[in-house]
Symmetry: C2
Subunit: 143 residues, 2 copies
Amino acid sequence: MLDHVSGRGLQRAELARRTGCNLETIRYYEKIGMIPDPPRTTSGYRIYDDTHVSRLRFILRARELGFSIDDIRGLLVLVDGGTQTCAEVKERTERHLADVRAKIADLRRIEKVLAVTAAQCSGDDAPGCPVLETLASQGDLPG
Amino acid sequence: MLDHVSGRGLQRAELARRTGCNLETIRYYEKIGMIPDPPRTTSGYRIYDDTHVSRLRFILRARELGFSIDDIRGLLVLVDGGTQTCAEVKERTERHLADVRAKIADLRRIEKVLAVTAAQCSGDDAPGCPVLETLASQGDLPG
DNA sequence: GCTACAGTCTGTAGCAACTACAGGCTCAAG
DNA sequence: CTTGAGCCTGTAGTTGCTACAGACTGTAGC
């Protein structure tokens, strides 16, 4: 490299390694404006530093917690603006928590139906099957 | 209609109404081979009957239970072939049930982290925030 | 200096599972 | 005979990535 990635400068693969992020995902996050366009070497190679590592870790962790990209974008705006208040962040978190709980409730209803139905199965060569009957029946999920 | 949709013949909107399926989704399921290509009037209108209603209900209900399109395709092959056995269906159901339970477990871990973190929030105008600190910290989810 | 090879660059296509148009027909009613 | 609802088609958008192809760059060995 002519203008070598000196000091704290990282290439994309190294950023990926340090954060556990997929290589291509980094470029994707850049493209959609989740991480700032990094400076480049004269030949066009991206140069990252610790601020990118932190930001990317923030994004990945928020994704692990099920926040959508748009949610995270909102959080990042707050963080970047330096104007965030704990109350604001708390409110968004609680809204997301409510979503997560709703999803859990959905899945628990599904789980119950599947478990109950599968338990009725004989498990033998019979062509009749409680699962297929449940699927063929009309009506919404119980619960 | 010249060759009117007589007797049990249904148009797409009516099939949608009876099953609760989105109008466009019907066409999509046809395109990907989940429901058979229905006969047409001379002017090209699709004509459905009760078999389409049943099949579509089956698909929708399986989707409600979280089966993927591919899972459902597999179930339909069994049903169509008339060769399915209860054991076979049971096995697929239990595999899916395991997936559902894994997703619930994931979400419960997420829920816990969010609930604990949000509970630490002061909820006032403070700029520091436990949620943001959690996101900024490295490491995987606990639990 | 030359070559091989790893790493980077770009744009684009693909995944699931739909959903929503635009632009053109057709059909029944007034 | 016109209006308007309903149908037809193909295609693009959604979310959040992931993976490629084809070109370029940088480094190490000879």
